[in-house]
Symmetry: C2
Subunit: 483 residues, 2 copies
């Protein structure tokens, strides 16, 4: 890839970002409670920078190849993550250091939702809107990444979701099909966001909160405009709307598209990943609710269901909203919910984690291995909906799992070496790498207390998780940069 | 498998076990400090029981098939583990409950080395000898299991070590080859044990301690005749002998055999697993020693090397001896050493953990996956010493890793639900499933404080780890019991 094309993409990304500052500015104009200056100056500054970079190379173009796909995907998150940090750093309403600004920005854009800010309730509306919108834009990026790009690049077995029939992949011209797919999915994303905002409004939120929270719900982000998160509203209606849209956003968007086109819910119930997703959430909720009731954390079934169900859905889909402080729940429950975030939502959704489909394949393969011990000569490929999964895909899924576990362990050791205790280190790694948000121990609600080096490692972990590790890792191989 | 053959094996195992009580009785006769009564009565009781069970079915015989292999292997550990608990339960010198007796017996036999006994230093010699000998017998079982049986059964990719050239496995008559292999390896095991005992004696131990500790060193067991473990001797010479024989016992015994037969160390340096084993231990020791020195845990390089090297080798080989309390070392070091026990020693050794060879394959596959992203159509099989690893083997290794991680997480949640805190739960699970022994938190030195249900789960975990999970899991499948 020519450096000129990189420059062009870089300039374009900056310009797109600067335009994304218009809505916060409009919000600021409406509420007149601050933040206008910084957003306006950042918008103009970044727009001009982008223009200067883009203009000289604007006519340069080239067919995109697989290799370029990796660079653009990584650039998308890194450039927007860094540019997104500027308002956090410059704004006078929150005293964020450079490290904190970058942490908060990446946490927003990767839809992780871990925050270093306290006192959200008193911040200017423009600022809060910007923060929520970062998650929403990140969600748009993820949809395209997950449904169109990762399958194309074959990350961690995701070639499974390639649209075309099996066969050699054409190593060129990937751009047109991506933009087609993207358009269709963004309509669904937009539709879900609108429906969710209306739902929140009907449940009693004002329009500002309704839209703000719909952004972070549909993006499975988890940012809120209140320190207390969803618990601020103390409304069962709001919580029901949140549960419904968290669940919907954790489903493969390509599946939503199929269902929408055929105007039938049949597609869902034929999909093995959806069935596993539903079963896992149902099972985990059941365990959580029963445990909360019988351990007498809540003295009515109503409360046990209300808090147990919400938190299970919030953590298992990797959203990270809170209507209760799950980190102080007794026994194994907090860890079980953190474990659920490793599985995460469906592939092709805005959720984080390793994705349900990979665990379905893993489970099937595990069963085959056990049965295969008795019939060592039999060939028993893994099947999904009657179709045989190629060994190549299975290998990629295993490779993904192994690299995920290994990276997790390594980074956990690193932050422990930087002084974090074991409980906090484990949950902070899970919360960032699975793009979940809240953790346990010191990071149950807020990441402010951690040291700068730890925040950098966690920021890196968010990016690793979001890019499904391999997309980022491949840039560090010698082969990648060989001509 | 006919129930009569099961009975015959059952009776034989009991008789073999009862004969194994002769040495402790002889030790008791020599020292005259107690334990004689209980051992003698257990010996006679178990011998007669075994005889009564075995006699009526003694002439029954049948060719062993793969299915029978699983039953016999599981019976070996379960029957000996339960019988081995009897002296702990009956002896009056230690007040062990039934649960504790079974925990201690399985911990010995699986060479885990976790203990519920305190006040070892004051126990009768017969009793101490018995405990050490349990580990040594367990080690003999593991050698055969790991070198001959797991490869035959194809557990977790271990068909890699099958002696014959690739091709269909004959589903019959596995017994003769096993007994041949076993004999050769037991000579090596015996030789190592003798050499280790002499080493300890030369280093200053008395003969009793020298043999006792050589048993638990070569078996990678970690039991000691003193509460303070190896630290009791406070002798650099003893520690050096321990390090050398822990290292030797963590190497594939088939490799020792090859080297012995060819009278050359060349075989080691050609073996990819040995090279990785050496590199991992070297790397981890380096990190530990440097961290201990620069964190000023020890104020001389001499002490940092002495304690850092010993504990790294002890934990990474899953032995579990202690010359220092590593659980109170600062930062990430305790967790890093616990993590090392997941890798464990080499396949075909007495060590626990997932085995180095599986991590070598995993790492190679991970690298291939990353490089394969750039060349999605290239076929790049994993090679080891120039030989292609069949996909079937790779699948089995991945399946093993996944089931290991999943079982670990599940059992950890179970013991947390039973009231164990997170740090203790994680390390206790690692210490038992990896057949390591010591953990962190409440189980840094002793498992006495845990509740009975937790001890049962941990006992099960020891067995799961020792039998490489699948061997036990397969018995729970419907297909196994189908005619
Ligand atoms: K999130
Ligand atoms: K051990």
């Amino acid at each position: 890839m020519h450096s000129r094309v990189i420059l062009k993409v870089f300039g374009l990304l900056l310009m797109v970002y600067s335009i994304s500052l218009l809505p916060p500015i409009m919000v600021g104009l409406y509420y007149q409670d601050g933040g206008l200056n910084s957003f306006t100056s950042v918008m103009i500054g970044v727009l001009l920078t982008g223009l200067f970079i883009w203009y000289p190379v604007r006519n340069h173009s080239r067919d995109l190849k697989i290799r370029d796909g990796f660079i653009i995907v990584v650039m998308f998150w890194v450039v927007l993550g860094l540019a997104g940090a500027i308002p956090f750093f410059l704004d006078e309403d929150v005293p964020l250091s450079l490290t904190d600004s970058i942490f908060e920005s990446f946490s927003g854009l990767t839809t992780t939702g871990a925050t270093v800010i306290t006192g959200l309730d008193n911040l200017p509306h423009a600022f809060l809107w910007y923060r929520q919108q970062l998650q929403w834009l990140g969600g748009m990026g993820i949809i395209v990444l997950a449904v169109a790009i990762l399958p194309m690049l074959g990350i961690g077995g995701m070639q499974l979701y390639r649209a075309e029939t099996p066969g050699p992949i054409k190593d060129s011209k990937i751009a047109p099909r991506i933009s087609e797919t993207a358009k269709a999915l963004w309509y669904i994303y937009l539709g879900l966001t609108l429906a969710c905002a209306i739902g929140y409004w009907l449940a009693g939120m004002n329009w500002f909160d309704a839209f703000s929270h719909s952004f972070s719900t549909v993006a499975i982000g988890g940012f809120s405009t209140h320190d207390a998160s969803i618990a601020y509203f103390d409304s069962i209606e709001v919580e029901i709307v949140a549960i419904v849209f968290m669940l919907l956003s954790g489903i493969n968007f390509a599946l939503h598209f199929t269902a929408f086109r055929s105007l039938s819910g049949y597609a869902y119930f034929r999909d093995p990943e959806f069935k596993a997703y539903a079963a896992l959430l149902f099972g985990a909720s059941l365990v959580a609710v029963a445990y909360l009731y019988f351990q007498e954390v809540y003295d009515s079934w109503y409360d046990a269901v209300r808090y147990g169900l919400f938190q299970t859905v919030s953590l298992a889909t990797t959203t990270g909203f809170a209507n209760a402080d799950f980190s102080i729940w007794p026994g194994f429950l907090p860890i079980m919910l953190i474990f659920m975030s490793f599985i995460g939502g469906s592939a092709g959704s805005t959720a984080g984690g390793m994705k349900v489909i990979r665990f379905v394949l893993l489970f099937k393969q595990g069963m085959r291995e056990v049965n295969g011990l008795l019939h060592p000569n039999a060939i028993m490929p893994v099947k999904l909906s009657g179709k045989t999964i190629p060994e190549k895909v299975m290998m990629a899924v295993w490779g993904f799992l192994a690299v995920y576990v290994f990276t997790f362990a390594l980074l956990m050791l690193v932050i422990m070496a930087l002084g974090v205790d074991q409980v906090t280190a484990f949950s902070a790694m899970a919360a960032t790498m699975n793009n979940l948000g809240p953790g346990l121990g010191e990071v149950a609600a807020n990441y402010q207390a951690l040291s700068d080096p730890v925040k950098w490692v966690l920021t890196f972990a968010m990016l690793l998780g979001r890019l499904e590790i391999f997309t980022l890792l491949v840039l560090f191989t010698a082969a990648f940069w060989r001509k």
